[in-house]
């Protein structure tokens, strides 16, 4: 089973650390990821640039509208995503519990099972085939 882990970061938490602490967190994180990868648990990881770089698009009156950032006042911001391969939900929880960034209290992590859309895609393909056959 694949699980997506959304890692949230409390703004300023990492920046508030001393240089030594920051190095320690980073070293431990990267080493931990190597370990996860070597054991086939880390399918993919996507670190994100800080929320200040974000741009949100809206569909408004048939046109694209844009605003800066995600939500201005949220406490924690999405910092990165990992896709884990785990035996089941409790195994995924166990893997996430060991993430160094998490243990250093950088922020909470949300786990969600990856959805299987194969059935929906198959049905959609059938609908589309029918439509073109007409």
């Amino acid at each position: 089973m694949k699980y997506i882990c959304l890692g949230y970061i409390q703004p300023g938490k990492f920046e508030g650390m001393t240089e030594d602490e920051r190095h320690a967190v980073l070293d431990e994180c990267f080493e931990h990821n190597d370990h996860l990868r070597a054991n086939g648990h880390l399918v993919a990881e996507v670190p994100l640039q800080p929320p200040e770089t974000a741009l949100t698009l809206y569909w408004k009156n048939g046109k694209v509208a844009t605003t800066d950032g995600p939500y201005a006042e949220t406490k924690e911001q999405l910092g990165g995503i990992q896709i884990l391969e785990a035996r089941d939900l409790n195994h995924a929880i166990q893997l996430v519990s060991q993430l160094p960034g998490f243990k250093y209290g950088l922020g909470p992590i949300e786990i969600r099972p990856v959805a299987d859309l194969n059935e929906m895609i198959k049905e959609s393909e059938q609908r589309r085939r029918k439509n073109t056959a007409r």
Binding site: H32, L89, I93
Partner: protein, 417 residues
């Protein structure tokens, strides 16, 4: 060592996991002294096997290979953590020296005990009872959180949190990893047997239409019963296994192709599984010979009398009543009283049965139990008291949610008109 493709290895590992993960985990928990570390190490050992075995061949003894690989993985994990947390290094060193000295004394007997330790830990009285089933099915039987959740019709995240909390409790209490002392054993064993029978009934009562997964629970419960019979052949353990096998032997006969429930008296007995009956009967005889049996053995003995009868009419109701008389003595409950009343009705006629059922109702405990109303309705029907019969069937119908049962009761009401 022999050559295999990755796909073959994956299949082999899947079946190894289903059969042996409980055993491997049980030993690792003892060796490592930590549930989570043991589980993580086991997962890593299986992952290592998947990448190494296609290249290097499958070891002649996969289980010891997996256990020793998991040990090294655990040491690695602790070493890695030690680079950032010095206390882990001490632990890693301690485990290594301990293993070197324990290597020789690690005989098969203590490995078998590990599985008992694991079962008793999963059903430990310090844990909340709702965690027993989840932990037992996941840690002992190797089912995934998602599979268990699906079978018990709850969300995976509810079940996952239950498991997380239970494991934290095991670690923080801490719950010792051991088989209970002889003094504690009867009570502790009773909790384990209850868990196994609950798993069985969850699958058994699901009947048709509720999906395959729930039906698999009966198979899982029987597997647990066999394991426990092998590890700890106490009379009641054997009695429970016998009871489950004898109930399961009627599986094919108890629902119609359209999913309606078929009562024992109307079942096509040629559909009963003779192999399971033979095994169940042999087991219950073994348990009865001990003269230290309890309620599971008596229930199995009752099921065995039914299993050996050619029809309802040919059933030895005198013996069944005698067994219920014993059961009422050691485990008095309104439900046992009700079943005894039904058996007496079969022996002495519905009038006697109805009087007994009404006496049970008079205690007031069975007012919300649909089977009690259904049994009463049945007595009235056989006595020709149609209006009373209908009213009792209707009460029963109002009290059950299960579709096969509802269909059965509706059919009975229709027949009365």
């Amino acid at each position: 060592m022999s050559e295999h493709s990755t796909a073959e290895i994956r299949e082999l590992l899947d079946s190894l996991y289903r059969v042996d993960s409980g055993r491997i985990l049980a030993t690792l928990i003892r060796l490592l002294g930590d549930f989570d570390l043991a589980e993580e190490a086991m997962q890593e050992a299986f992952a290592a096997a998947l990448s190494l075995w296609p290249r290097n061949g499958v070891p002649d003894n996969p289980r010891p290979w997996l256990i020793s690989t998991a040990r090294f993985k655990a040491i690695d994990t602790l070493r890695r953590r030690a680079r950032f947390d010095a206390s882990q290094d001490e632990l890693a060193r301690y485990l290594e020296t301990q293993w070197n000295s324990a290597e020789e004394s690690n005989e098969e007997a203590s490995v078998e005990d590990d599985r008992l330790r694991l079962i008793f830990t999963c059903c430990h009285p310090s844990l909340p009872p709702e965690a027993y089933v989840a932990l037992t099915l996941r840690e002992v039987c190797g089912l995934t959180t998602e599979e268990i959740a699906k079978a018990f019709l709850i969300t995976p995240r509810t079940l996952a949190q239950r498991i997380v909390r239970a494991k934290a409790k095991i670690r923080d209490t801490p719950i010792r990893y051991e088989v209970p002392s002889p003094q504690e054993l009867p009570e502790r064993l009773d909790a384990v047997l209850q868990v196994i029978y609950l798993v069985f009934n969850e699958g058994y009562s699901a009947a048709a239409g509720a999906g395959v997964t729930r039906a698999e629970l009966t198979g899982e419960a029987i597997r647990l019963g066999r394991l426990l019979t092998e590890l700890l052949p106490e009379p009641e353990v054997i009695g429970l296994l016998s009871l489950m096998l004898l109930q399961e032997s009627r599986h094919a006969a108890r629902t119609s192709p359209t999913g309606e429930l078929i009562l024992l008296e109307n079942q096509d007995r040629s559909l009963w599984n003779r192999e399971q009956i033979a095994e169940g009967v042999a087991l219950v005889e073994r348990a009865l010979k001990s003269h230290r049996f309890g309620s599971y053995t008596l229930q199995a003995a009752i099921a065995a009398v039914h299993a050996e009868a050619e029809s309802t009419a040919m059933t030895d109701w005198r013996q069944i009543v005698a067994l219920y008389n014993q059961l009422v003595r050691i485990q008095p409950s309104p439900i046992v009283e009700l079943n005894r009343a039904v058996a007496i009705a079969m022996r002495d006629g519905p009038e006697v049965g109805l009087a007994l059922i009404d006496a049970v109702f008079a205690h007031g405990e069975l007012a919300n139990y649909y089977l009690a109303h259904s049994a009463r309705a049945d007595m009235c029907r056989r006595l020709g008291r149609t209006a009373e019969a209908r009213s009792s069937y209707e009460k029963a119908l109002a009290l059950t949610q299960q579709e096969p049962e509802r269909q059965f009761l509706q059919e009975r009401i229709r027949q009365l008109k």
